[in-house]
Symmetry: none
Subunit: 237 residues, 4 copies
Amino acid sequence: MDKKSSSQQRRESLGARSRKRVREILGTAREVFGEKGFEKATMVEIAQRLGTSEATIFTYFGSKRELCMEVLRRWYYEISADLEREVPLVNGFRARLHFVIRKHLMHLIEEGTGICALVLSEGRNVDEEFSDLITDIKRRYTSPLMAALVAAQKSGEIRRDIPLRLMRDMVYGSMEHILWSHIYSGFLADVDLTASRLSDMLWRAFMPPDQPAEALAQLHAEVADALHRYEQNEAEK
Amino acid sequence: MDKKSSSQQRRESLGARSRKRVREILGTAREVFGEKGFEKATMVEIAQRLGTSEATIFTYFGSKRELCMEVLRRWYYEISADLEREVPLVNGFRARLHFVIRKHLMHLIEEGTGICALVLSEGRNVDEEFSDLITDIKRRYTSPLMAALVAAQKSGEIRRDIPLRLMRDMVYGSMEHILWSHIYSGFLADVDLTASRLSDMLWRAFMPPDQPAEALAQLHAEVADALHRYEQNEAEK
Amino acid sequence: MDKKSSSQQRRESLGARSRKRVREILGTAREVFGEKGFEKATMVEIAQRLGTSEATIFTYFGSKRELCMEVLRRWYYEISADLEREVPLVNGFRARLHFVIRKHLMHLIEEGTGICALVLSEGRNVDEEFSDLITDIKRRYTSPLMAALVAAQKSGEIRRDIPLRLMRDMVYGSMEHILWSHIYSGFLADVDLTASRLSDMLWRAFMPPDQPAEALAQLHAEVADALHRYEQNEAEK
Amino acid sequence: MDKKSSSQQRRESLGARSRKRVREILGTAREVFGEKGFEKATMVEIAQRLGTSEATIFTYFGSKRELCMEVLRRWYYEISADLEREVPLVNGFRARLHFVIRKHLMHLIEEGTGICALVLSEGRNVDEEFSDLITDIKRRYTSPLMAALVAAQKSGEIRRDIPLRLMRDMVYGSMEHILWSHIYSGFLADVDLTASRLSDMLWRAFMPPDQPAEALAQLHAEVADALHRYEQNEAEK
DNA sequence: TATGAATGAGGGTTCATTCAT
DNA sequence: CATGAATGAACCCTCATTCAT
């Protein structure tokens, strides 16, 4: 709270040019942290890629750790905000699952998985202070899916005898490994296809063991619901 | 290939006492790398736990990286050898899947997941030299499961329309995330139960879909999709 | 003499508003240097407390050191001017001594001893340039007491067989240590009482010894010394 | 307790060469810290004067601060041990005071006052951990004089209406200023003479205001005591 | 005149690695 | 074969100082 004050406070008063600089630094830092991981990334490399000196970075961020956390925070913020807004608009668990998976895969293919891996592998061995932040980030990031899982359990779309945590780990774990394979082999031709296959399989995995009737009833309810909403819309015109 | 040769060769021609020394060093190194990760582990700490000096370790291993790789190699060798021998003895894909998952989870719970995390987080950003080794290690490690998948596809126990790689990633990815959750929360009360649940769900995921239910699911998906698009259109008006 | 000239000259020709700015800066700098000492004080902190930027300070003062010196110069100027005016008005050495001591202690207790410590701990290791300034500052500061000592020696109020420098060092050294004790323990309940006690003791110390008591003391010392030597001789046998 | 372990523990096992190295480092560090003060002293300078690299120093001392503390500890240990042994052997407060002052001045003339000043000026603004050490060092260092003061108060040799702390500050403060003067002016021709003058004046300062009779009685008592001891010694032969 | 921004120069500290004994 | 000791090379971080605007 005291040691960082100088650089910290300077950043508070961000002029227009300043804000741009912050973005540049975060962009480059994201690259480097993503490629190298936290430990192997060096401030000097980030600075060099930016074409500035290390000191400049410390003008905006109090420490390497802080910079990295901000990178993570923003990265997750972007996708989390999207998911929180969009997932609830999708109807039915299966569609939601597919939506989340597709979004996640596409986002990661573009951005690289480095940043994502950071959250996993750097999460431990970190000062209490940041450990909390990471926990928050992860919670928020996975919460749209968790909410979908909760809803689906309630509606009977998925099994009720499995902890949600386990399902969540299956979803994110599968995707992560897929992306690792992609990185190593450079092979992941069709993201859409992969997303469809994965969500299909996971949906089957989560589906209540033997309930075609259940599924039919669910479909009926959804159609009825949609019609109801549709009619209300028409009435209001 | 040249730099290592000296220590490598030194290690080749070892007496009985020396072989014991190597084992001791590897054992301690496994502990430390597992607890701290590659970057945060230090040669001093390994040496201290061993009760010797750092220089002694360098008598047997050419570098920190080389030591770490040997640790990984042996760790995976052990479990791989087990799996290669035992998996074929198990009958039926479902049982094999459960066997592999249970073995993996139990092994990691016992040994700490550190070693496992190493392979994943250290796998990238490594000199070309070691990158190949890691690829080999992983290939061998997953090969019993791959073989089981191949057999199961042939026998019709699992779907034939999904790349094996994708299934493999689901298996290992899920387990990995489960273990990370475990590390963070310290919570994984019943390994057996988790193994059963996970293998059950993955088995369902891989199982060939039965046709009527499949048709229903397809319909469901299409209706849901149509509704979604329709509603978005309405919203944008 | 050359490096400073630019900012020095800039400071010479100042409007009324600027003169006020200089005072503000010096006030804040005094605070910060007092609290932290020269090394630990930073220009950023001074600027922040002022609500301006570091660059502004450099508009008025050529360097951190120069600023600090100006702080010291002014601090000592104030008290020196007071002392030069007031001490001669006090009659008798004893009263003068008490006056100087009391003034010094009170001034330092109020202002924090930081500034004072600066002169002592920063006095050495300073560019030749500033070393002279410090010598001057201190000479002027102690000169009222020195004058009083000279007068008192002439009038016979104090011993003539002791160098003035020695007496001066006793006065200021005692006070300094008292103040350090105060800083450490936070304890110096009654400044007036301490000033009285200290001036009383120092006065006795400086007072010409009355002869019979002196003779007795001399005897005492000689006997004690003889005994000591005698006993050591005995012990070594 | 964790961060320092590597270098700390290596120092525990000091071989013969190692112990010598430690002494060399401490010697050079004493010089540099004495000349420059803690802040301005740099590890690189210490290393250069030693003809080694900075890393070598960190092999033996965990941090700059730790090194400095060890310097102080040893410096004070030497003189404190001497004083504790010798002061009680001296009889009578006046002689003891003279003894302490002479010893102190001589020691400091030889070694420079830099180290001594460190204790004063670096004492504050320091981690709690070291603050305690400094307090201990100072307590131990001044305790022989304090004990002498206590005894003298009890025996009536010195005033009872003055806090011991105040007297102690007068003794050490005076000496310190004398030494500063010496350093600046290079002038302190006759240490013995200065010691005599200073102890004489301080003795007068501390002496009970008006008691030639008291002093006489005291002398009588001491002579009687000495005779008594002398006779006992004779009897034991 | 004022300042937001940038940075060169350096400081303390760490650690894998080497080498003489 | 073992090791105590030494160190080069980095790394993170700080801060007085400069300069374009």
